[in-house]
């Protein structure tokens, strides 16, 4: 904490300096100035080194490998084999195809996700639909289902021959109607599980909208439809655009769904292409790095655009003054809206969970007719119990909880330290710290994982292969989310509150502990919860970093699926969801208790 205080010991100035020039007052002044500057920037340097190891070094190594003939290994990193050879892979038909697929899939799924999210948000925030709380719950619930699990469930549901939906259609004589291993299938699954991001952002913008603006339009003679078109939607355009671009970036870099749904259908995207290059024997790391560079550049362009759009959001007349937005009477459309929400809920949650249940309960691994599912002894809890007792599962569950709790706590602490430096101090270089901290937003998790692999291979500390490297990786990729949450919260606490404690005789560190942190409690807790969820769900960043001793639940599910052990994958997935729910409930009630205990 000492770096937080602006304490300046008297009289230690001169001794701390390397070489104060003797004589002239000008020289002395310069030395003193230099010493002061150095001490002032110490926290920045410390943080910069931390961020460099966390973020800049992995990115640098990716870039370096893309132009090198060998991948970084301990003691084998030099500028020897600089080459452009690796980029030849980009001209191959496969990679051109992968790039095209990525763009098509990301565009289509983000448009679809936006439509779903915006419609649900409008219904929940601004209309007189029945059961608004239920609609809200439907809007966010898919967040609790990792896209990896969603993809698994949909391959169980709509796999071309044995999918449960096809069993049903076959049973009624329609034949196999569904094939999820296709472009539309991939787009659908991504859209289903990324719609909540659109929902949350747009719902926020719609509830915070100043009702005066719409009432003014109404007073001046606008009809409902006209108001919606000319006032309401234009006002939330920044939120719409912002979430659209965010989802585009997220679906573009998504690996689990692309791998589990796309790969069986021979649809390759850039992330799966990187994965395949790394898994080739021998691994083609340099070419993977070249593809990673292209994917990252694409995402940086998209994210930069999104940042600009989000900046514009400040100019909209959305303010949080506890006013009640107008509820619009949509009359008979209420039924349509409710049906729409329920269909979405069925597709995103109900059907997938049923599929997972069936898959983990069915006693024979293959079911070719619907009837077989209803025969005696065809369903049993044997597999679920088996999984529960499986030491590999228990070990992975332990790892997952350990990693996500550590990431949540340490990541929030780091984010706090960083936000404090940026918003509460005048240390030089704080804006560049912020820039570096936000970079992972534009780096695909799978690429970050690759960079971190090489980073911790060559760093002379025994971290690679331990669970620590997973914690470090997750903290790095989720630093932007943590930083944003904490910054928003620190900005809401007036700086005077802390300064007054210092004036009244407390040290800076004590003032932070006595005033600032307690007032930020809600924001800190929700950031911890967010990081906990994100870390619990993460697969891509861990792909190249885990070892047989540090498998996470996501890895177990992915491996089982890869090895065709669908039943085991399904039972693990169910327990995985359960653990996520328990963690969220525990964290929330813990938060509620401690904020009640405060006073």
């Amino acid at each position: 904490m000492s770096a937080l205080t602006t304490k300046r010991p008297r009289g230690t100035e001169m001794s701390a300096q390397p070489a104060p020039q003797p004589g002239g007052p000008a020289g002395k002044d310069y030395g003193r100035h230099f010493g002061r500057q150095l001490r002032k920037s110490l926290p920045t340097w410390f943080m910069l080194v931390l961020l460099a190891v966390l973020i800049l070094m992995p990115m640098g190594l990716i870039l370096f490998s893309a132009f090198s003939s060998s991948t970084p290994r301990p003691g084998a990193i030099g500028l020897g084999g600089l080459t452009l050879e690796n980029f030849k892979v980009l001209t191959s038909p496969q990679s051109v195809k992968a790039l095209g697929n990525s763009v098509i899939v990301a565009t289509a799924s983000s448009v679809l996700a936006m439509l779903i999210g915006a419609a649900l948000a409008f219904l929940a925030a601004r209309t007189n639909i029945w059961g608004k709380a239920v609609i809200y719950f439907i809007g966010i619930s898919p967040m609790f289902l990792p896209s990896l699990v969603g993809a698994l469930a949909w391959s169980l549901l709509a796999g071309p021959a044995t999918g449960y939906l096809n069993l049903v259609t076959r049973a009624v004589g329609l034949g196999n109607l569904f094939n999820i291993y296709s472009m539309p299938g991939l787009i659908l699954v991504l859209a289903l599980y990324y719609a909540p991001y659109a929902f949350l952002l747009i719902h926020g913008a719609m509830t915070l909208m100043n009702p005066d603006l719409e009432e003014a339009a109404s007073v001046h003679g606008g009809s409902l439809g006209k108001i919606l078109r000319t006032v309401t939607f234009p006002l939330v355009t920044p939120a719409l655009l912002g979430s659209g671009v965010l989802i585009f970036a997220l679906t573009m870099e998504n690996f689990p769904v692309a791998q589990m749904i796309g790969t069986p259908g021979q649809i390759e995207t850039l992330p799966t292409f990187i994965y395949r290059l790394m898994n080739a024997a021998p691994a083609r790391g340099n070419e993977a790095a070249a593809v990673a560079v292209v994917l990252t550049v694409l995402l940086i362009a998209v994210t930069a655009f999104q940042q600009r759009v989000v900046m514009k959001r400040n100019f909209t007349t959305v303010s949080g003054k506890g006013m009640k937005p107008r509820m619009m009477d949509i009359g008979r459309l209420r039924g349509v809206g409710l049906a729409f929400a329920l269909v979405y809920f069925a597709l995103a949650i109900v059907l997938p969970v049923i599929a997972l249940l069936l898959a983990s309960l069915q006693s024979s691994p293959y079911v070719s007719k619907l009837g077989e599912l209803f025969q005696k002894d065809s369903l049993s809890f044997w597999s679920l119990f088996q999984t529960l007792q499986d030491s590999a599962f228990l070990y992975a569950a332990r790892n997952s909880v350990l990693v996500s709790v550590s990431v949540a706590v340490l990541g929030t602490a780091l984010a706090f330290y960083l936000s404090y430096l940026v918003y509460r101090t005048k240390v030089p270089g704080r804006k560049s710290l912020e820039f570096v901290a936000m970079l992972p937003l534009a780096i695909p998790a799978i690429v970050m994982g690759l960079g971190l692999l090489w980073t911790w291979l060559i760093l002379p500390v025994p971290v690679y292969g331990t669970i620590l490297v997973l914690i470090i990786a997750f903290i790095a990729i989720y630093l932007p989310q943590g930083y944003r949450g904490i910054s928003a919260s620190i900005l809401q606490v007036d700086k005077d509150l802390e300064d007054s404690a210092v004036l009244l005789g407390s040290t800076r560190a004590r003032a932070v502990a006595y005033v600032t942190l307690p007032l930020m409690k809600t924001g800190v807790l929700s950031t911890i919860l967010l990081l906990l969820m994100l870390a619990m769900r993460e697969l891509s960043a861990a792909l190249f970093l885990f070892t047989s001793n540090t498998r996470l639940l996501a890895i177990v599910v992915f491996d089982d699926y890869d090895n065709g052990a669908l039943r085991s994958a399904a039972s693990t997935s169910l327990l995985y969801i359960l653990i996520i729910l328990v963690l969220v409930v525990v964290a929330k009630s813990f938060g509620a208790r401690s904020s009640n205990g405060g006073k």
Binding site: R10, D499, R508
Partner: protein, 361 residues
């Protein structure tokens, strides 16, 4: 305790927020830093508190040098024993009033019994006795201000800083607290520094007023001094002199011609000449009559554009024939029977017209 500021410079990036400020506040006296927003007054105050670090200069509180850029002294805020009432009050909403006020004593490691006693004393002083166990988030603005004041008083500060202490209160409460604050400061013999942009507040609270413009001290003096003899037209403007007309010297001593109109003013004798000079007439010194007053040097006819009743006074805006609009503040008793559109006569005594430079040199 006596507070001295010597040659304080403070820069944000390349521009000076505070430049060459010198000020002395005698023990038990109050100084008001008065100026528009962005003039550097709050920054100057925060330098005393140690919340801003000047680039250059020296600050002394009592016998202790708390900041000296030459000797590299910078005593941290929490060791300066400076009390401060923030504009936002900065009362901690997650603590009770007692906890808020007891905090500085806890930091000084005062015994529990003495803390209770001194907190009670302080709360009595600000009129909040009996509120000890209330949560601070449920207070009104005026009560918050009192808590903030008690919290600073309880530490027996060497100097008490108050940043716009009354600006967040409604008008009636403001008038009452203004008097209470002044009485408290005089009773406790407190050395105080106020920051305000409200000239009325400054006149009421300060033993002396330091008027700041663009980071510099433009004029320092007693309230009476400053009000009677502003150093420039912009200062006069800031102090509520609403009739300011650019003028040129006419050649005759004591006669000036308006720069933009064909009107002449008789004034006392000034040696000022040049382009950047202005005539300043307080609205309360403008006399409005329905008949021409005989023999007066400055007597013009005009038409009432706006007459606004303000209770004790009526404020007129009168457009002079062939001249500028002039504002007059007339006591209810002396009010002529003239409404909007009526023809009136406007008089100003030569001794009430000040010729001032536009800016302080």
């Amino acid at each position: 305790m006596k507070v001295t500021l010597e040659n304080i410079d403070l820069k944000y990036g390349d521009s000076y927020a505070v430049r060459g400020v010198n000020a002395e506040i005698e023990d038990g006296q109050s100084l008001v830093l008065l100026g528009k927003s962005g003039c550097g007054k709050t920054t100057t105050m925060r330098c005393i508190a140690g919340l801003e670090t000047p680039a250059r200069g020296r600050i002394t509180i009592g016998d202790q040098v708390v900041f000296d850029s030459q000797k590299n002294i910078n005593v941290p805020s929490h060791k300066r024993n400076v009390g401060m009432v923030f504009q936002s009050y900065a009362v901690w909403p997650h603590r009770t009033i007692f906890e808020n006020v007891a905090f500085p004593l806890q930091m000084k490691k005062v015994g529990k019994k003495e803390i209770t006693q001194r907190v009670d004393e302080a709360l009595v002083m600000v009129g909040l006795d009996g509120f000890q166990n209330r949560g601070a988030s449920l207070l009104s603005g005026g009560q918050m201000q009192r808590v903030a004041l008690a919290r600073s008083l309880v530490m027996r500060p060497s100097v008490l800083l108050l940043d716009e202490p009354l600006s967040n209160l409604d008008a009636r409460l403001r008038d009452r607290l203004r008097i209470e604050l002044r009485a408290l400061q005089q009773k406790l013999n407190l050395t105080c520094v106020y920051v305000t942009h409200d000239q009325g507040e400054a006149l009421a609270l300060g033993d002396r007023i330091a008027l700041m413009q663009h980071g510099r001290l433009a004029q320092v003096g007693t309230p009476n001094d400053i009000y009677e003899n502003p150093a420039s037209a912009t200062i006069a403007d800031f102090l509520g002199v609403s009739n300011i007309f650019p003028v040129h010297k006419n050649g005759h001593p004591g006669v000036y011609r308006l720069a933009d109109h064909r009107l002449e003013l008789s004034t006392a004798e000034y040696s000022l000449d040049g382009n950047a000079i202005a005539a300043c007439i307080r609205p309360e010194d403008v006399i409005v009559t329905t008949q021409r007053a005989a023999g007066d040097a400055n007597s013009w006819s005009g038409k009432v554009k706006v007459a606004s009743y303000q209770g004790a006074e009526v404020r007129y805006l009168i457009e002079l024939d062939d001249g500028p609009s002039i504002e007059a503040l007339v006591s209810r008793r002396d009010c002529p029977a003239a409404g909007t559109g009526d023809q009136v006569w406007v008089n100003a005594s030569p001794s009430d017209i000040q010729i001032l430079p536009a800016e302080v040199a």
